[in-house]
Amino acid sequence: MGTEIDVFISNYTLVDPEIYQLWVEGHTASEAVSILNQRGLGQLTGAPLELIASDVLDHYRTYSLLEKLLSNPNKLQEQLAFQIEPQTRKLLIEKYYDFDDSVVRELIGKKLSSKHRKDLDEVSEKTGVPLKSCRRQFDNVKRIYKMVEDMPGPVVQNIQNLFYLPEYIAKKYACIVFLACIRFETKRKLNHITFSCWKRCTEAIMDNWTNKLAGVDNFDTEHDKDFFSELREIKILLEKEKEHKHLVCVLLRAKLLQKCYLDLDANFKNYNRAILLPTTNMHRPRDVKNMFVELTSLSDSLKQANWTVPELEVFLNAYTQCGCEIDIIRDSAALKILWEKYMKVITECLLAMY
């Protein structure tokens, strides 16, 4: 134990965004010193390495004391040990709860148990993110999940209120929470899907297929069960395949490239079936989980046929539009809404995954 002491404390807690970022990223103090030095701090100020180290250590000590409070940002407001100005507090919380998409992608679909926490070194190795940072991200995800899992009201707002997070971060967490609640299959064949893609898909589902629309008190982390059971009625479209194909082809002949058009013409049956498959089994929770597996096989076959994203979008829009024109749907307002609701999500998901 050294007798050397070097402590610097100020009445309002000083947060150096650069050093804080390094701390959040899980760098050790000595790593941080050399990184800062490489970035030219020493050259810029003429400060020797020891001085930078002393400063970094001051900040690191403060941050590790703050960490306890950051796990419950509400406490950050009440406590007296650190006087933190609002904008500094915002910075502290935002950066602490921000995460690497690659790390979080690894966490999706896994159980957030303490056993898994021990396996984080694998994640760290795979993503190249320091273990400490992986742990922080894991803990943050777990903490937020536990807090809002059973909470009534919109998830995003709950997260924002409880953790004082800005909307864009809260939305990201909402997506993780949703995936964990619904337990979609996310592994194996779906490993290649990135977090931002998942985010797009889940947001579409949350906006359209959950109880969110039913009222404020309901969960938006649960599927709208009525919707899923009603969905079976859309199955009829499978029988109307020819009519549907005709309408789509008429509409798209001029819009699509020859190559795609030919592919569509040849494979419409397969595509149609793939798109409509979820309608047949979504009332069974087990099959809901596999929805993305099914969608991904469709997107794979489209990829093989060299479709481009804009082309796919044109096709899906036309497909949706033409569906509405088929008499059964055209005649029933309820079915029309159902169909549009369904296709909105499928379109978004397919485009995201593509």
């Binding site: 007798t3 402590v7 150096d16 930078i52 609002p86």
Partner: protein, 890 residues
């Protein structure tokens, strides 16, 4: 004074888990005052218990002496209850007239071993009946301020005099029971004792103040001497004044207030008005000194119109050997020691022709049985005292003392501080007013007893001024003197000498013999620095001596300024008789060259600026002649006193030379240091929004070699450099009220511990604010937006400052002076970092201080002082005192 004390224990939150199996706590609270103890029921299995229990105490005189203790326990059916932590509530704020009527709020629960463990919500009320008995032994209602200026919000009716008090006790840490009680119990005993001593100290001082007819004590300084096995001494000094609140409506609020004001009103002869800008102007002051009372004032801020002349820095030191205090109730030896020192200071002031000492402080340093008592101040003549009243006393020295212990006082002002002398105050005031009035010395050339002749004042050409002015005082912002200042610069002088390890009297003799040399060295360094930077006065000087078994160190820190009315000092001259032998010598020679160059440069620059300023006063001829005068004088002085040239004859001189040069500044940050509270002259565009207090603690091992002096002075350069770097985001900024508190200790090697406190005030500069990070230290708009945001929120920040004012804000009401005592004891393992231990502790101390401010419904602490009373960082033991004035600011 009988009173009813009501305590309501409401609830607690965030308690620690005391029972691992249930992951909860069965908490109950014990409320104790003056050995009467009550308990709440046990609130089972919760970390956020609610009790809502009321207690009532009927108390008498002990209200000022004792402290309310609230102790939180975890109930255990089978074994002893586990302590969770404690809260100490000082009741004195409740006894203040017009003070808060109740204390209410959340307070951190603190344990000396584990730190802060949750918070408790309390309401404390006090109803007391006024006792106007002449023979009362309480001094309730006497306000105490740590401020070393007259508090705003009050009109000053009268300045009475200096008061001192001293209370002695045995230290629980050294009692025999300490051998078998737990660390926690012994820490609690010590903290309780400190609170009680403080209480009785304040009570006694208050009684003295009442006797003098005053109703408040300003410039209150309290300190503790940890004399180890010999005991524990609490000392308090202050200045008794009579204050009156501004609002006339206040009179109806309590009879006590009227009682205290009546005698004062009868004698009221003048008042101190505070005009728009907060500039004090004094119409008339009257003061009377009781026979036994020293004409000292602990205040260091004085309206410049009150100060007629400054004699200079005076100091007295005395080396004593501690012995067991036989009768704690009658601490005669300690009283006698301080009496000696004060008499000596008094006589020094008389020699300098001054009737009072202002900016007066007392300090001690203790190492085992050896104790050095020091008193410092600035001799001066004030407009409200008449020097004629005081018969001239010949100086008395206490070189050979008959008391059991050895005593030697060191008088240094005569040898070193070549300043002014004798009377002449009366006719001074009759003449036309010179803006540099207070720097005049009240004597003529031939009267001066010093070799260094005073010169004509360069502002009025009538009176004489000293060649340098050194004092402990503050500079008043906006005073007339301000216009005479150019630049300011923090200068420090440090001496560190190895000494033999000795015991008893021989040790005392060695120390007392070395002290004059150390003082001389300090003075020489300061003088050289003044010359180096072409300055001619030092304000806000503080000198601190610290001693360990084998080292004695001294540090003088002050702010050098250039006063236009004072002459320019001769340039630095270095003569080297030592041969240049090795590389290090060559380095020193190059330093030497640099020093001479710099000195010349600065001097030329100063000459120019002075001349320029004189031109604008259309007094060309005057400038010329005075410049000639100066060069004449230089020649004269150099011939006379070769001692003023820096002679390099041996290694030690080399060592000293190296100290003179500051390290090269960091490129980016521009940080200006000052020991004064006022913003230094020449600094503009200050942004007050990010102003804040900083505290830092350094502990380092000193180099064992003969370069120990360099190693010691290097520490301060390092600290300043480190502050410069750490404040880079504030840059450019001023660091005000820079204070160093040095403690020397020894564990195999010599260790110096330095507690630094200061206020940072960023000065805004467009160029810089654009560069800096927008998130934190962004543009002015962002900052003001932020402060507005913070206003909206329910959490109101507690402003803590070592200054007498909060930068950019106004004091609405003073609530109370508070003291906090906290111990942290944590057996550190090999892997633990001491820095972390200290960091956590200081954070906790501030958290508790903020909680206390909130309890009082205040939002700021002024004149905050954090002092480490006892520390053994290596073993994880720290005892600190935090004191300050709680107030409401707008």
């Amino acid at each position: 004074m009988p009173a009813i004390l009501k305590v309501r224990v409401i609830s607690a939150r965030d308690l620690p888990i005391m029972d691992k199996s249930t992951e909860s706590t069965d908490a109950f609270v014990e409320v104790k005052f003056n050995d009467v103890c009550f308990k709440t029921s046990v609130c089972r299995k919760t970390l956020c218990p609610t009790w809502n229990t009321d207690f009532r105490f009927e108390v008498d005189a002990e209200i000022q002496n004792d402290i309310l203790e609230i102790k939180i326990y975890d109930h255990d059916s089978y074994s002893a209850n586990d302590a969770i932590g404690k809260v100490y509530i000082d009741l004195s704020p409740l006894t203040m007239t017009n003070g808060p009527t109740l204390l209410q709020g959340w307070h951190p629960i603190y344990d000396t071993l584990r730190g802060i463990r949750g918070e408790i919500n309390l309401i404390v009320k006090l109803h007391f009946f006024n006792n106007e008995n002449k023979f009362r032994d309480t001094s309730i209602g006497v306000k105490i301020f740590a401020l070393n200026e007259f508090p705003s919000c009050y009109s000053l009716i009268k300045v009475h005099s200096f008061v001192e008090e001293l209370v002695v006790s045995t230290d629980p840490e050294y009692q025999w029971v300490d051998n078998f009680r737990s660390n926690r119990a012994s820490n609690d005993a010590r903290v309780r004792l400190l609170y009680r001593l403080t209480g009785s100290l304040k009570r006694k001082l208050g009684l003295k103040a009442l006797d003098l007819g005053g109703n408040a004590i300003v410039g209150y300084l309290q300190d503790f001497d940890i004399e180890g096995e010999y005991g524990l001494v609490a000392r308090g000094i202050g200045t008794v004044v009579t204050l009156q609140e501004f609002e006339p409506a206040m009179a109806s609020q309590g009879p006590a207030l009227l009682l205290f004001q009546d005698p004062a009103r009868a004698q009221c002869k003048g008042s101190l008005n505070r005009s728009g800008q907060g500039d004090l102007s004094v119409h008339r002051f009257y003061s009377h000194h009781l026979k036994s009372v020293f004409p000292f004032y602990t205040l260091s801020h004085w309206p410049s119109s009150v100060i007629q002349s400054i004699g200079g820095f005076v100091t007295a030191r005395s080396v004593k050997l501690l012995s067991k205090i036989e009768e704690p109730d009658e601490p005669e030896t300690r009283d006698a020691w301080w009496h000696e020192i004060r008499s000596e200071i008094d006589s020094h002031a008389k020699v300098l022709g001054c009737s009072v000492v202002i900016g007066y402080t007392e300090t001690t340093t203790i190492c085992d049985e050896l104790c050095i008592l020091s008193a410092t101040g600035t001799a001066a003549n004030l407009a409200f005292t008449s020097a004629k009243d005081e018969p001239y006393k010949s100086p008395t020295f206490y070189g050979k003392d008959k008391i059991a212990s050895l005593s030697k006082t060191v008088s240094n002002k005569k040898v070193e501080y070549k300043l002014c002398n004798l009377l002449g105050v009366a006719n001074n005031s009759a003449e036309t007013v010179c803006p540099a009035g207070f720097s005049h010395v009240p004597f003529t050339k031939k009267d001066s007893p010093f070799t260094n002749k005073p010169q004509k004042c360069r502002s009025c050409q009538k009176f004489y001024v000293p060649d340098i002015l050194i004092c402990t005082l503050e500079l008043q912002p906006g005073s007339q003197l301000g216009s005479l200042l150019i630049e300011s610069l923090c200068v420090e002088a440090s001496v560190c000498r190895a000494k033999k390890k000795l015991q008893g009297e021989s040790n005392a003799i060695v120390v007392s013999e070395v002290l004059p040399f150390i003082e001389y060295e300090l003075h020489r360094q300061l003088l050289n620095k003044l010359k180096l930077h072409a300055m001619n006065a030092i304000f806000g000087l503080s000198v601190q001596i610290s001693i360990s078994e084998s080292v004695i160190s001294a540090l003088a820190v002050g702010t050098a300024v250039f006063i236009k009315s004072l002459p320019l000092l001769p340039p630095i001259k270095i003569s080297r008789s030592l041969q240049v032998l090795d590389e290090e010598d060559q380095k020193l020679v190059s330093i030497q060259k640099k020093i001479i160059e710099k000195s010349g440069e600065q001097r030329r620059a100063r000459m120019e600026s002075v001349a320029w300023n004189s031109d604008s006063d259309d007094a060309d001829s005057k400038t010329d002649s005075s410049d000639e005068n100066i060069s004449e004088n230089i020649a004269l002085e150099l011939a006379k006193r070769r001692s003023l040239a820096l002679e390099i004859d041996d290694e030690e001189d080399e060592d000293n030379l190296a100290i003179l040069m500051e390290p090269p500044p960091l490129f980016g940050p521009s940080v200006q240091f000052s020991t004064l509270q006022a913003v230094p002259p020449g600094t503009e565009h200050l942004s007050f929004i990010n102003a804040q207090m900083i505290t830092s603690l350094h502990q380092a091992t000193l180099d064992e070699s003969f370069r120990i002096n360099q190693s010691f002075s290097g520490l301060f350069k390092e600290i300043k450099q480190s502050l410069r770097f750490k404040l880079r985001h504030f840059s450019p900024c001023c660091v005000l009220d820079l204070k160093f508190d040095v403690t020397m200790s020894e564990e195999e090697k010599n260790i110096a511990q330095i507690l630094t406190s200061a206020m940072v005030v960023p000065s805004k500069s467009k160029q810089f604010s654009e560069k800096s990070d927008d998130l934190l230290f962004g543009s002015e708009e962002a900052k003001s937006q932020a402060s507005r945001d913070s206003l909206k929120e329910k959490t109101v920040f507690v402003e803590m400052t070592t200054l007498n004012y909060v930068v950019g804000r106004r004091v609405v009401r003073y609530l109370s002076h508070i003291e906090l005592f906290l111990i942290k004891e944590n057996a550190l393992r090999e892997t633990d970092s001491v820095s972390e231990f200290i960091h956590v502790f200081v954070t906790e101390v501030y958290a508790i201080a903020r909680a206390q401010v909130r309890l009082l419904c205040g939002n700021a602490i002024l004149a905050l002082k954090l002092r480490i009373i006892d520390c053994n960082a290596g073993e994880g033991y720290v005892l600190v005192m935090l004191s300050g004035d709680v107030c409401v600011i707008s």
